[in-house]
Amino acid sequence: MSIDWIKLLFTLLGLFIVLNYGLLQYGLIRRITARIGKRIGMPVYQPYIDLVKNYAMRSQITHGVMFYLGPVFRLVGGVGIFMFMPLIYGSYYWSNYSFAGDVILIMYFMFFGMLGMALGASEGGHPYSFIGISRGLSQFTTVEVPFTLAVIAVAVQHHSFSLTEIVAGQQGGIMHWNIMTNPFAGIAAMLAFLGMMMASPFNVVQAPQEIPIGPPTEYHGTYLGLLQTNRAILYVSESILMVNLFFGGATNWVELIVKSFCVFFWPVFVGLVFPRFRIDQSIPWFLKIPLILSIIGIFMV
């Protein structure tokens, strides 16, 4: 297998775009959040500054090898999701490395980063890391169920696990989008998406004051920089995944960005409106409404 260097370049370019987009999007979201709170808020480019500052920290500490590797795992997870996902429908070069696997690969690659992060944070030995991780994992188990069911529903509908195929099946107008053709699965997936984003009301994992931001309590400097980079990429990637699955994909960058921004705004919006759930409240919640919706969705197909 010869390496397609041009494709690699395009992929890296896409990664760069997504990174910037992710940072800006985060800034914008923060800004919008501030405006909702009648504040002016930070500049849109603030995430860049934070990133630079974190990479520019002079001293660092390390708790051990796994602590060191945690952010690496995390970022590989984030970048991996991006790499294995087709971005623009119909474009060979913007389909990234999606030839390596289908949506199942993407779903499971999410765990990669999570696990690495969990292990890295644990090596720090901070009890709050443990607590945060145990909460995060607990919640995650139930978030994934409706999401997976929704994915399966979509896959069954299009008779494929391939994202390209799924997007292809949604072409031809808004009424062909899966959110319209299979609204139950779509809604279930969108609800699960809330949990995946770990935004309020499902952000008890990081509960900033109770267990100072949970898992990454000990992370700082470059580590934190990596995590921030990852966040930018991962959130956008997940949004793109949702776009591909339920919102007809995108045929060009503008469409992609608009759609993914809209999708990403959904958890932000919910997070601004609802207060935080405890872990033992969120788990049954996910196993009730989204699960039922997704089961209906799967049998609708």
């Binding site: 808020g41 930070m42 920290m57 934190l224």
Partner: protein
């Protein structure tokens, strides 16, 4: 002093435990649990342009450790409200010292709190800045003769900015931020390095007033 008794922390005394194979294992908590390295001075980047850029980034992204020491901490909360909105200036609150750059000593510092403040300060990473609020941190203020509060903060840690007042209003704190930013951008805010360079002095000062010094010399 006649009543200078050494405080013995039961958690930090040497102890012997029995290992899995029945062998005796002596544990010296200070040695075994804590890193005993001393802080090092971190030189700025040689290339001025990088250093300036980084200093700009540091100045524009000030992450404040959410640690209220005295009555001044009540003045910190308004900073986050729509009225003062410190976010505009790139100021954010962080719950963990690892990620924070700026420590705000918000008012009087009792000896007990000083110990915690030192620990938190040492756990912050270089570069790190200290902003001290109110007269209490400058000269003791109304607690100048208290048996239990310190009078001058910069005997114990390098302070970048003092914000005077009792207490300073949020506007004053915002002004303090601006002053700090200027210092940082000018490359003058090298408190961390200062602390490392004069570590013995600081430590001696700290230990003089904190009698139950039950921690390593430097808290990594």
């Amino acid at each position: 002093m006649e009543d200078k008794k050494t405080f013995i922390d039961p958690d930090l005394t040497k102890r012997t435990v029995i290992g899995p194979n029945g062998e005796d294992i002596t544990v010296d908590p200070i040695q075994d649990y804590f890193c005993d390295a001393l802080p090092k001075k971190h030189e700025p980047k040689r290339a001025k342009i990088f250093e300036n850029f980084f200093n700009w980034a540091r100045a524009e992204s000030i992450w404040v450790l959410g640690f209220g020491t005295g009555c001044g901490s009540i003045e910190l909360y308004p900073l986050l409200t729509p009225r003062f909105d410190a976010y505009r200036f790139g100021v954010q609150m962080r719950p963990t010292p690892r990620q924070a750059n700026l420590m705000i000593i918000s008012g009087y510092l009792s000896v007990k709190t000083l110990k915690r403040a030192i620990r938190s300060y040492e756990q912050m990473q270089n570069p790190k800045f200290v902003m001290a609020l109110g007269s209490c941190t400058i000269n003791g203020g109304m607690y100048f003769d208290s048996y239990n509060t310190i009078n001058r903060l910069d005997k114990y840690m390098p302070v970048d900015v003092y914000v005077a007042g009792c207490m300073p209003r949020p506007e004053a704190i915002l002004a303090g931020f601006e002053a700090l930013k200027k210092r940082i951008k000018a490359g003058k805010a090298e408190g961390a390095n200062l602390y490392a360079e004069n570590f013995e002095t600081y430590k001696a000062n700290q230990k003089k007033i904190i009698r139950d010094w039950n921690m390593p010399d430097y808290n990594w």
